[in-house]
Symmetry: C2
Subunit: 394 residues, 2 copies
């Protein structure tokens, strides 16, 4: 039997919940940080305890005077993070502090459409429930590999997701799980994951560049995802690299994605397989080549594979150099399947950005590979949900 | 005799001053908008009246019950806006609502260095004082044509401003005028001017592209200037347009500024003067050509001049197309001296951006010429100052 889950009733309660998400705190400390009067603070905290969002946790260490009561998020709070990829689903259940309690990963084909794929995701979450990880979820965040109208909670003409266009993902998941749901694209949830527990924890303004089948960018301004006016901010895969380049799937010429990313890399590897022992042998064995095959060949020292990665890195670097001059971020994180091409790719991207961007913009700019790996998306999806639930009612 | 000017003492007072900057309001309306309790609101307003930042203005029209007291910004409030260009200084004095009370414009040469140029600006402001426009300024905003460390209030290695590097502009102006001062680059203050009284009044996220001697971009996110981590955000003049292009003053190859902007346009016009009747005649008369000569020739139908402008517009458009895909703004404003090349330039920029950016990003994207003209910078400088003064103490 699903019950309606409690939500904060005002901005003060929302701010307190976000502070407690970081760690348990004493009432005295919360008073200092929020600048609420003691009576107002206690009123709001007592109400949060009533709502079962917060619980007492004994007394804090003395700061000299009377010991202050310690409070923390309720141990019953649970959030779900769902990361739907082109060929995989990852789900996690977390506690209120967004610590992962359980993580499942399964193969899927996003082209099977929203009903099949979301059913599978719901079953995976149900499994975590059967393992005792939750009785009631307080919120769920979902990331999908395509453009999303964040406001409406639906995919918008996603190129690699036939059948998903404007499907009510947010509503469907929210109803299935009996809790508020939020939907965003895969790149934004990865950026939130890095902000929450990755390399970007101390950085207000940064970029996460995901190089997977396609190429996209998550933009964080002042610790929040920047989505742009129609929600398409960060869609950098179709920025022009060359006027004389190949025709892209979008119809334009010389787009970044027409040169690099999983799809382009597989195509180019097939074209040059005759010149590479490793790629040629692999193509004979399997009849098809993937970005992973290029990575393997490069690791084995295959010169043609290394050249493909270098060429791609140079083009990503060229686009990124312009964005770094424009945006002056504090950090650039490279992530996604093709990012596992690793340090050859990173070295080439760095070389171009450090040479082509303004010195003032690159003086203190780290460009790094993500360290979170497959956790970035699911943790970010849970964080997205927590940000949503721990916000003031409108 | 200078006195220390009053400032808001807390965040509530700062918020009230910003609301009153828009227009006079009744106490009842301020209570609704700020959600402050009636007693707290009256306490803060009474304090602002004591500080002479706010004054009573009679009774508001009845909303049914007792008529509520009307309050407005004090009629004594005055702000200065100073816009220093490569060859001109503009100054304004405004009231608290940032209405311009007086505007002076004089020629100068920024290469004469900070002492000479700032002295001239201070004399211009003194003239407005002698005309009775103020007895005491509450704040001053200064825009300069080069990179600024906003935090420190100093120019940082500005290419066209010899002698200005790290000169304490903020401190010097603040001391001379006896009020808090703030310094930013020319592009950011123009963007603030557009936000305050130009085409961007209703737009939260927009770009202002200034095409003058060089090319720069003001970025507004959520109604605030986005400056990036080291303050260089928007520095788009050195984004790569072409690998085979001319060498830029910065040492790289194929930068946008190496192709377009006042300097590049003058150089190219001189190079092709032999093929153009208008440009050739002008060169014979004056021995040198400027961007203005190209504009005049284009207006007279000179095909070579029109071609120069089209080529430039195409390159600006190419860079802008990438930034529009990345940033998904709600509006792009083209401003600056070369923007006066007008509709030929605008048509070319639009054509490239609408063709090359993602449809989702350009669906509702107006690309327009600034309508504020030379007022944008000074109004923005005054607004910068007002934002600073009407903010909570740290």
């Amino acid at each position: 039997m699903k019950r309606t889950v409690a939500r904060p009733e005002n901005a003060h309660q929302a701010a307190l919940l976000r502070l407690l998400r970081e760690r348990a705190r004493s009432r005295a400390e919360l008073g200092d940080v929020t600048a609420l009067s003691r009576s107002r603070l206690n009123l709001e905290l007592d109400r949060l305890v009533e709502l079962r969002l917060v619980e007492q946790a004994g007394l804090a260490a003395s700061r000299g005077g009377r010991r202050s009561g310690l409070v923390r998020l309720s141990g019953d709070l649970r959030f779900a993070g769902i990361d739907i990829g082109a060929t995989s689903i990852d789900v996690v259940v977390t506690d209120g502090e967004l610590e992962i309690l359980g993580h499942l990963s399964e193969r899927c084909d996003v082209r099977d459409g929203p009903v099949v794929v979301l059913d599978q995701a719901m079953e995976m979450i149900a499994k975590l429930g059967e393992q005792g990880m939750f009785t009631q979820l307080y919120g769920a965040g979902i990331g999908i590999p395509g453009p999303v109208s964040f406001r409406e909670g639906v995919p918008v003409a996603p190129p690699i997701m036939p059948g998903w266009d404007r499907y009510p993902v947010r509503e469907a998941v929210g109803q299935a799980l009996g809790c508020p749901a939020v939907v965003d694209n895969d790149v934004n949830i990865m950026a939130l994951g890095e902000l929450h527990s990755g390399l970007a924890r101390q950085v207000d303004d940064f970029l996460l560049v995901k190089i997977g089948t396609g190429i996209g960018c998550g933009i964080v301004v002042d610790g929040k995802i920047y989505r742009g006016v129609s929600g398409s901010a960060g869609d950098i895969g179709h920025i022009r690299v060359d006027d004389q380049g190949p025709v892209c799937a979008c119809g334009n010429i010389g787009c970044l994605e027409a040169y690099f990313g999983g799809t382009a890399l597989a195509r180019e590897a097939t074209a040059i397989a005759g010149r590479s022992v490793h790629l040629g042998r692999r193509l004979d064995q399997t009849g098809t080549l993937t970005a992973e095959d290029v990575a393997t060949a490069a690791e084995m020292g295959d010169a043609e594979a290394v050249r493909l990665i270098r060429d791609g890195g140079r083009r990503v670097g060229t686009v990124l150099a312009g964005l770094v001059s424009f945006f002056n971020p504090g950090l650039v994180i490279i992530a996604g399947g093709v990012a596992q091409l690793g340090h050859v790719l990173l070295a080439e991207i760095r070389s171009v950005v450090y040479r082509r961007s303004l010195p003032l913009a690159t003086g203190n700019l780290p460009i790094v590979l993500s360290e979170l790996g497959p956790d970035a998306g699911v943790v970010g999806a849970a964080r997205l949900s927590s940000d949503h639930v721990f916000s003031a009612p409108r």
